[in-house]
């Protein structure tokens, strides 16, 4: 009985935290409907749908959003693959260079963003590498990678490797063992790492502002627009990102339920 009560309390508490984290989003959504009369969009002046109709009226903003989404997806894939492999290595094995590797991961997390951005830019300039999507993806992969490694490692440490040994004893190849045994067992860590990588990439401002060349991303465009006033289309785009995210989350929960009931 006491356990059930405790569970209920924790359940409510979890929702409370989610609502707290999402509370500014509510304001953002609201101001996407603001019928504002001047450039500033911070005081409520009436309800309108017009910003939804004119969602793509600002070419630069639309382009920036598309860039951000592409960069976030690609860098998340890179960071997740590289980070998962390295996370497995440092979490499970003893090998030469492990200490240095761990130090590098710490360094990647602790280097101030600005310094990372500026030094990457010097590197790209001295290598005469043109700045744009590719350099942004390289940079985002770099800082997201470390977070994936740390998250995956938290999963790997203490996982029992005997299942994999059993699979190998039964004649499964390296790849088959990895795909059928290792990966499923670390999957929650990989998924969590990927989500963190995506969040880091799509919201990054400082590093991107150095290595972007003339490629604009969503956060960069918004920061620039602060000077004159952020147009409500920005709120609408934020709302759509959030809305699509909620739909995906719910769809995932439903499909997971189907799987468990079947």
């Amino acid at each position: 009985m006491r356990g059930k009560l405790g569970d209920r309390a924790l359940y409510l508490y979890t929702w409370l935290i989610i609502l707290w984290l999402a509370s500014p989003i509510a304001v953002m959504v609201l101001f996407g409907f603001n019928d504002k009369q001047s450039k500033s969009n911070t005081s409520w002046q009436g309800f309108t749908f017009k910003w939804y109709q004119q969602l793509f009226a600002i070419d630069g903003l639309t382009e920036a959003l598309v860039n951000s989404l592409i960069i976030a997806v690609v860098s998340t894939v890179f960071a997740t693959v590289l980070g998962t492999l390295l996370g497995l290595a440092v979490g499970r094995y003893r090998f030469r260079g492990k200490g240095v590797t761990n130090f590098l991961i710490f360094a990647a997390i602790s280097t101030p963003e600005l310094v990372m951005g500026a030094s990457l830019l010097s590197l790209f300039v001295s290598g005469n590498a043109p700045r744009g999507h590719i350099t942004i993806i390289i940079a985002h992969t770099l800082f997201s990678l470390a977070f994936v490694v740390v998250t995956v490692r938290a999963r790997v440490v203490g996982l029992d490797p005997s299942l994999e040994e059993a699979a190998r004893d039964l004649g499964a190849g390296t790849w088959t063992t990895f795909r059928l045994v290792t990966l499923p067992s670390i999957m929650p860590g990989v998924a969590a790492g990927a989500m963190l990588a995506f969040a880091l990439s799509i919201d990054d401002y400082v590093v991107t502002s150095f290595v972007n060349g003339s490629t604009q991303t969503f956060p960069l465009w918004i920061v620039g627009a602060v000077k004159v006033g952020i147009p409500p289309q920005v709120n609408v785009m934020g709302t759509l990102i959030f809305g699509i995210g909620v739909l995906l989350a719910v769809a995932n929960a439903i499909s997971a339920r189907r799987k468990t009931t079947h």
Binding site: S23, M28, G83, A89, V90, F95, A107, P112, V115, R155
Partner: protein, 283 residues
């Protein structure tokens, strides 16, 4: 053959880190040992005066950052652990949904979140204004431009980075183990202390690493939510680099910060009973 497995696993990320992280860090180290200014040029003097000068000038902000980062991390741990626990053991097929919902607010720009907080927490806004109207709060009460706001902002912005790794570590624990331990130990508390907590420690370590370090170096929350005496070391790096173009000082501060953080993580690792510092640093 298996001897080589870790190297193959590590190789791609090693290459990435070697080219894109080691080179910049080495460059930063060398810049921190130069003197001069942008217009006349910087010369490599190998003088460590940048470090001593920077520490002397900015020790207040450095210590303040460590305190803010530390306090925020403790709060995040306390707030985040129960969430991770509930999702890992009780959310069933909705685990992914809850995790995703926790992170979703961070997919929209920090500028929008910040503006919204400014709206919600305004001195006479919908929250404080209403409470003041009811006489619950004194008229001159405010949240924005205070230390509480800065630490609150850090907690808000990094909380998912605490919850997710703890969840990841807890989730591998078989709930039946916990059920069984209820029978073994008398109370829930000792079950938690003897079974759950030890199993979640790698996650706690990862969470602390991923929140304490970036929160201490963060410039945004102090700038947006702070008042006149809340400047953090991240803001100083920005000013020295971008406004003053004093690249040597900015690099020296960055290195000092990294060193101090590494020491902090080391002490923490020792407290948790981990022997190898560098190993601990990435756990």
């Amino acid at each position: 053959m298996r001897r080589w497995t870790p190297y193959w696993l590590a190789l791609p990320a090693w290459l990435w880190l070697a080219i894109f992280l080691v080179v910049p860090i080495a460059a930063m180290a060398s810049v921190s040992l130069t003197t001069g200014n942008l217009i006349d040029g910087f010369t490599q003097t190998f003088s460590v005066s940048n470090y001593s000068d920077a520490i002397a000038k900015y020790s207040t902000q450095l210590v303040r950052s460590l305190v803010y980062g530390g306090v925020a991390t403790v709060i995040m741990l306390v707030l985040g652990y129960p969430v991770a626990y509930w999702i890992a053991f009780k959310a069933g097929h909705r685990k992914s949904m809850f995790l995703f919902l926790l992170l979703l607010p961070f997919f929209v720009s920090f500028v929008l979140r910040t503006i919204s907080w400014g709206f919600l927490l305004a001195d006479d806004g919908i929250l404080l204004g209403t409470l003041k109207g009811w006489g619950v709060l004194p008229q001159d009460f405010h949240v924005l431009a205070t230390t509480v706001a800065v630490i609150g902002g850090l907690v808000y912005n990094f909380l998912p980075f605490m919850i997710l790794p703890i969840y990841v570590a807890l989730e591998r624990v078989d709930p039946r183990v916990i059920e069984a331990s209820y029978d073994l130990y008398a109370s829930r508390l000792s079950t938690f202390r003897r079974v759950v907590l030890p199993l979640s420690l790698p996650g706690v370590f990862a969470g602390v690493l991923m929140t304490f370090v970036p929160a201490t170096a963060d410039p945004i929350n102090a700038q947006v939510l702070g008042g006149t005496s809340n400047t953090m070391i991240g803001n100083i790096v920005q000013t020295e680099y971008l406004v003053n173009n004093d690249y040597p000082t900015a690099s020296a501060i960055s290195f000092t910060l990294m060193a101090v953080l590494l020491i902090g993580i080391f002490i923490y690792a020792r407290a948790l009973g981990t022997e190898n510092v560098l190993e601990a640093a990435a756990r």
